[in-house]
Amino acid sequence: MTGTTHDDIKLSNAQIAWRAAQDIADGAYVNLGIGLPEAVARYQPPGREAIFHTENGILNFGEAPPEGQEDWDLINAGKKAVTLKPGAAFFHHADSFAMVRGGHLDVAILGAYQVAQNGDLANWSVGARGVPAVGGAMDLVHGAKRVAVLTEHVTKKGEPKLVERCALPLTGVGCVTRVYTSLAVIDIENGRFMLREKLPAIGLEELQSLTGAELAVDGTVADLIVPEF
């Protein structure tokens, strides 16, 4: 380890999104959660064409239109104006969640407050205070063939987001199989965090100290290398 802190070396949100995008196969149907995960769409590797689904009833939507050219009936789940790509389709909410719940999405990528080593996810409520809001997260975690999480490795206060057991209210039980963090790529297998990739600049010991449950290693841990931007 160098004398730097993990804050100096960690990936930007865009870089985490870039890494997650590399795992999306050509032709995949993908739902990206509101916020951080939305950026994944920008980093599709050349030659691959994923089709993006939004819960409010569009398949194959694209980037935001130029300002002033929005059609406010053409929005995504984050209520941002979008455009259509050729081959798009509209459908109502029951059909949209039939796609989700029925296992037709290949990947859902969501944000997280906490992820537990058993695959439990907490991303909808920080507890009793304030107004609770759930949206489509609880449907997505039990529907997509693969549910991944995209997150900072620790909270702003430096507390682990990868934990033994979620302390916050659950979104879903045993649903997450891969976590892309600002420091590492970690699979969840048989109730354990399996470290697959980490930033070359961080040592295993420091990474473990920033993680709330044991990081298991099975074979080699690859270097997590992403472009600068």
Partner: protein, 240 residues
Amino acid sequence: MDKTIESVAEAVAGIGDGAVVMIGGFGGSGAPIELMHALIDRHRQTGSPKGLTVVNNNAGNGHVGLAALIEAGMVAKLVCSFPRSADPRVFTEKYLAGEIELELVPQGTLAERIRAGGAGIPAFYTPTSYGTQLAQGKPVAEFEGRPYVQERWLKADFALIKAHVADRHGNLTYNKAARNFNPLMCMAARETIVQAAQVVPAGGIDPEHVVTPGIFVNRVVEVPEPQQEELLNRAGATYP
């Protein structure tokens, strides 16, 4: 057969105190602003309807549409999935003050419960919410080794719907993603009231392109160039 009526005021005249009202839209997309504002007008003039239970994906944004309905004190309970928005203060303040009840439902479960209400399915099982707070008190059953939560249908006395084109039989199309909850709510209400940007004669919509068949619709009122919540909010509008 002609389901058209002349005015939004007439369209909402039958909605009484304590009614369960489904309101279409996802945020501002597909939200029937003019019907909601007509309901607010009636409340200002007559003190009614009040004590409404409203079913909508959200809880309003700014001071128009659903937010204005809540601000007017007409809503006793909200059934929704996501009571947040760019400006959710109207709902948030009433909620934190204990002046409005909230039933929080996962978005896909909300959609399916409404469809079930329309389709005569009193209950169904979903994996959604299993093991979470939102499943508390609900029956759980295993099918093929996997646990599921039993959810109940959701029906309404009235549905307020925003369509794009309607014919006189009540056949409807929608504009883009404004479809969202609207076709489901048409099915699940005892009386479905539609504002459409254009009303055409029977036969004016290709039978292949009908999204909501007229059997699910009771009244249609033409509202050309309907208002869009997002634009109203960007202009800082309030209603009334």
